[in-house]
């Protein structure tokens, strides 16, 4: 209905393969970006930025990362939390060793450490598939968690065992630490997430992304098309872990401000996997939808009784929250196992063919 595609034709392959070939979509994307970059900082209060938008974006980025591995390359992983941890600890070490280098550079650099570790733990994927691979990634998860605790060098022998974000500034603006304003941190996170999402999208629609999907859909045929499973799988692990690592570093540096191992535990791996599955495997926008759903919905539920003036015990709300989230996950998987992204594209398709049903 909203889509009026008549008259939109492509005269080049570039236009035909553009990220958003439909004009209305382009419009929507620019509108969203405008709201995100201008609208949100203008109207958002600290709570909205600190507790909703920043974590949402960070988790969305991690979901993009996991989606690359699980959704696009078909390798199931439960090590996301730990890979995020690698990024966070790497960034902490980097910035304490080189305090003068811009923190954004360090955050991106920390992704490389995570990518390296990811590749090492990705090696078994050459022989192991499906649920069996889950075990490898869980091994990574628990082993790395253990390292974060046991290797005191990682947290600079801090008695608390936690990494605490030092204050870093660039161009006179405080970027990290408690004195950094939420708006600054939000805009930084948003910029990094937008750029990295764009890059992820590019990789996915190119040769490398295709090789991942080939391995995912039919690994044997892929190999017979000349795709080396080693390269495809390891590159997926590397890129995925890179994204998770950057997300982890941002999580600590731009959101939490301090973190212990608990912030990278297996529950986070599950959390991100939820976001990916519920959002839709193999869909970048699904990663964002999933992150929004899993992160924002509970906050709304927690806030809801207050808004409508019902006195409910905080604990009861939390219990109901668990039940509701669990129930909704089941519900959504039943109505659309391919996730919110599929629901979205069904809806979009409906709008495109409106008023027809197909």
């Amino acid at each position: 209905m909203l889509y009026r595609e008549a008259g939109q034709f492509k005269t080049s392959y570039q236009a035909d393969q553009a990220a958003f070939p439909i004009f209305q979509d382009q419009l929507a994307v620019w509108a969203i970006l405008a709201v995100a970059f201008i609208g949100v900082p203008l109207v958002g209060n600290d709570f909205f930025l600190n507790s909703i938008m920043i974590p949402f974006l960070i988790f969305a980025l991690a979901s993009v990362g996991l989606n690359i591995l699980t959704g696009y390359a078909g390798q199931l992983s439960l090590g996301t939390g730990a890979f995020m941890g690698v990024g966070a600890y790497a960034c902490y070490k980097l910035t304490t060793i080189f305090p003068d280098v811009n923190i954004v550079i360090m955050i991106v650099a920390s992704g490389f450490f995570s990518a390296g570790i990811g590749m090492i733990f990705g090696l078994p994927s050459l022989r192991i598939k499906g649920f069996y691979l889950v075990v490898t990634t869980l091994a990574a998860q628990f082993f790395l968690e253990w390292c974060f605790i046991r290797i005191a060098w990682l947290y600079n022998y801090n008695p608390s065992g936690a990494i605490e974000v030092p204050q870093r500034e660039a161009f006179g603006v405080i970027l990290t630490g408690a004195s950094a304003t939420p708006v600054t941190r939000y805009l930084l996170v948003l910029s990094i997430v937008v750029v990295m999402t764009w890059i992820a999208f590019n990789i996915i629609r190119g040769r490398i992304g295709r090789s991942w999907m080939m391995i995912r859909d039919m690994d044997i045929a892929a190999e017979l098309m000349g795709v080396k499973p080693l390269n495809a799988k390891l590159s997926a692990f590397a890129v995925s872990s890179f994204y998770c690592g950057v997300a982890g570093a941002m999580m600590v540096f731009f959101w939490l401000g301090a973190a212990e191992v608990e912030s990278f535990d297996v529950n986070h791996s599950f959390l991100i996997l939820f976001m990916v599955i519920l959002g839709g495997l193999g869909s970048i926008k699904g990663a964002f939808m999933g992150a929004a759903f899993i992160w924002i919905l509970p906050i709304l539920i927690r806030a809801a009784p207050g808004w409508i003036g019902i006195e409910v015990q905080a604990a009861t709300v939390e219990h109901l929250n668990f039940m509701l989230i669990g129930g909704l996950i089941i519900f959504f998987l039943i109505i659309e196992p391919h996730g919110l992204a599929r629901l979205w594209s069904i809806g979009k398709q409906k709008l495109r063919v409106w008023p027809f049903p197909y």
């Binding site: 009026r4 595609e5 034709f9 008023p355 027809f356 049903p357």
Partner: protein, 662 residues
């Protein structure tokens, strides 16, 4: 480009001259698009000139002489359109052929037209031409567009389009060749033969209609002015290139106005391609609009209940006010508001799905369009109009001007066209577009076009009180009733056939007291209706004789009678009696032609008893009819066919007629 500078746009007389002009004035504007290899390949006028020039000079290199004929065989492809101009530029005459015709038909035309070159789209067409071998005494060279499958052909006289263009490019290395070519174009005159279009005609061999540049250029110029077409139009070329309509819309008018012509990827993707291009000007025969509408309704049937209700609500609304808004009449604020909602929810999306969002003008012609269908499109806010035309007239005879649209007329005479109706009711016209003559067929030319330039259309018609022409039937089928009033069977049959429940109609009345009809119900449509109303039936026969079906038919007939009573010429042929045939008319039984046209005389003979019964006042008649089954076996069915009287209306006065038109 001296030539172009010398003359104003209106002073040009040939298409190659327009090409030069367009390359100059619209150099970088897109002249042609073709969906190929997944995207819309585009050529600007300057590039188009380049393509045409190279091919043209290549043809010249190959020995094409002025006046020689070049056959064009294939679907709508840029290269075939360029061939028209390339041939014309060196004084040749292009002869487009229907690509779906069989080899023998093709051979006749090629031979008759004395074509020396054939430009074919692909292997299929090349094969057809080659298969005729020695039968083609004039044909010398074959040029193909798509090389697929032709790699192994080793015939010397087979060339690819590229090869020919390469020859042209080589020749162009000598600057003089190019100058000469342009000079040659400059010498073209309006009276020169531009193109030969073969019309199939209902009887006999196809006739080659010779059209001069003047015919086409003036017609195109008038038509462009009539609907204010300029270089901003986009049209989609999907009708056969051998058909005059396509030649005028996609070639003549495009060159004169300088607008862009788009060729779809393939026949299956035409709908999709149209949606992508969203033409600003769209021509389609009624059946295309009919198919589109059917597709819409069928798909809406599958929609959810709410959506369907919404669709029906807004379509009802459109029916009430849509057309009035389109015609610029006064409409209440609330209705306008509703229409605005409708535009968002239904009309806009529908137009979008049909690819007609940007359509400024749409035409339908060729046969009568069902008024319901016509109104449907108009009510969506689409400026769909009717025209009446012929190959011999370079298309335009009459057309509906904006704001004077009637579903049952074909409009006023087009600019520069004079129309007369002779005493037998046949329509005659005279215009600048009138053809030069039939190729190598003076006799036919004489019988069609008199010495004053009046051309017989072969169609019977009349002007209504507003001066709009109404075509009622082929002139030769029009008869007289005993009281002397005009009887046009097809006119009545068409009116009835526009009801979806009626599949076939045979009307009688020539030399009789009144008009009476045989009806065939549409089994799908009536069957659906029966299902919805819990009417069970075992066979066509049982359904056809069902009282409720009869009641329904009676309603339809009554509606037609009421319509007819409003038209003074036709009021006399109101239907007095009708019956629903006990079997479907079938080509296997010889009742229909293979193209599904009613064989009137055969039916009159076969069902003589029933016709008698229609006129002798009996209430029913028992008949037994022999039928042929699908497997070829013969059998017979018998039935007691009921005959009904229909209500007849007195001829209405002027005032009431006005109302009916609303």
């Amino acid at each position: 480009m001296a030539v172009a500078e010398d003359r104003s746009a209106t002073g040009l007389s040939t298409f190659p001259q327009y090409l030069l002009l367009n390359a100059e004035r619209f150099g970088s504007r897109v002249a042609m698009r073709h969906k190929d290899f997944g995207i819309w390949q585009s050529w600007s006028w300057a590039e188009q000139l380049d393509q045409v020039r190279r091919f043209s000079l290549g043809l010249k290199q190959m020995g094409l002489k002025p006046g020689q004929k070049v056959a064009l065989i294939g679907a709508n492809r840029p290269r075939l359109y360029w061939t028209f101009c390339a041939v014309q530029a060196i004084g040749g005459v292009p002869v487009p052929l229907y690509s779906d015709s069989v080899a023998e038909e093709m051979a006749y035309v090629l031979e008759h037209a004395e074509a020396v070159f054939a430009v074919c789209q692909d292997q299929e067409q090349v094969d057809k031409v080659l298969s005729m071998g020695e039968a083609l005494t004039h044909l010398d060279q074959i040029i193909y567009d798509e090389p697929r499958g032709l790699r192994d052909y080793d015939q010397d006289h087979l060339h690819s389009f590229e090869q020919v263009q390469a020859m042209g490019r080589k020749a162009l290395e000598d600057p003089k060749v190019g100058e000469d070519w342009v000079a040659g174009i400059g010498k073209g005159k309006g009276g020169d033969l531009a193109v030969m279009l073969y019309t199939s005609g209902t009887t006999g061999r196809p006739k080659g209609v010779m059209l001069s540049y003047e015919n086409l250029v003036v017609s195109a110029r008038n038509a462009n002015a009539f609907d204010s077409f300029d270089q901003n139009e986009q049209v989609i070329a999907y009708l056969p290139i051998a058909w005059v309509g396509d030649h005028v819309f996609s070639y003549a008018q495009a060159y004169v106005a300088g607008y862009c012509v788009c060729c779809p990827e393939s026949a299956e993707t035409t709908d999709q391609d149209r949606r992508e291009i969203a033409p600003t000007y769209f021509f389609a025969p009624p059946r295309v609009f009919e198919t589109l509408l059917t597709a819409i309704l069928v798909r809406m049937e599958d929609a959810g209940r709410i959506k369907r209700a919404m669709f029906n609500y807004f379509m009802d609304h459109a029916r009430r006010v849509g057309e009035r808004i389109l015609n610029g009449e006064r409409v209440g604020v609330l209705d306008r508001l509703l229409n605005w909602f409708g535009e968002i929810l239904v009309y806009g999306p529908l137009k979008n799905r049909m690819g007609l969002t940007r359509m400024q003008v749409g035409y339908t012609a060729g046969e009568a369009i069902g008024p319901e269908i016509f109104r449907f499109y108009r009510s969506l806010g689409l400026n769909l109009k009717q025209l009446y035309g012929q190959t011999e007239a370079s298309v335009y005879v009459t057309a509906q001007p904006d704001g004077e649209i009637r579903p049952d007329t074909v409009g006023r005479p087009s600019p520069d066209v004079e129309i007369e109706i002779d005493k037998s009711g046949e329509v005659l016209y005279r215009s600048p577009g009138v053809f030069v003559g039939y190729y190598k067929n003076d006799e036919a030319t004489k019988s069609t076009k008199d010495k004053n330039g009046w051309v017989r259309t072969g169609d019977a018609g009349f002007f209504d009180h507003e001066g709009h022409l109404k075509i009622i039937d082929r002139a030769k089928d029009v008869g007289k009733m005993k009281d002397g009033s005009l009887f046009a069977p097809k006119y009545i049959e068409n009116k009835l056939k526009f009801f979806p429940n009626i599949k076939e109609v045979v009307a009688f009345g020539d030399e009789r007291d009144f008009c009476a009809v045989f009806l065939n119900i549409d089994l799908t449509s009536v069957g659906n209706w029966a299902e919805r109303n819990n009417i069970s039936y075992a066979s066509y026969q049982e359904l056809a004789s069902h009282p409720e079906v009869y009641a329904m038919m009676e309603e339809h007939v009554d509606q037609v009678n009421r319509d007819l009573s409003g038209e003074d010429m036709m009021a006399g042929s109101q239907i007095h009696r009708f019956l629903v045939l006990h079997k479907e008319l079938d080509a296997d039984d010889g009742e229909l032609t293979r193209t599904q046209k009613v064989r009137r005389s055969f039916i009159a003979e076969r069902y003589g008893e029933l016709i008698d019964a229609l006129y002798d006042g009996s209430e029913h008649k028992f008949v037994e009819t022999e039928v042929t089954f699908e497997d070829g076996r013969k059998g017979s069915i018998s039935a007691d066919v009921i005959i009904r009287d229909a209500k007849v209306y007195p001829v209405a006065e002027e005032a009431s007629r006005q109302e009916a038109a609303e």
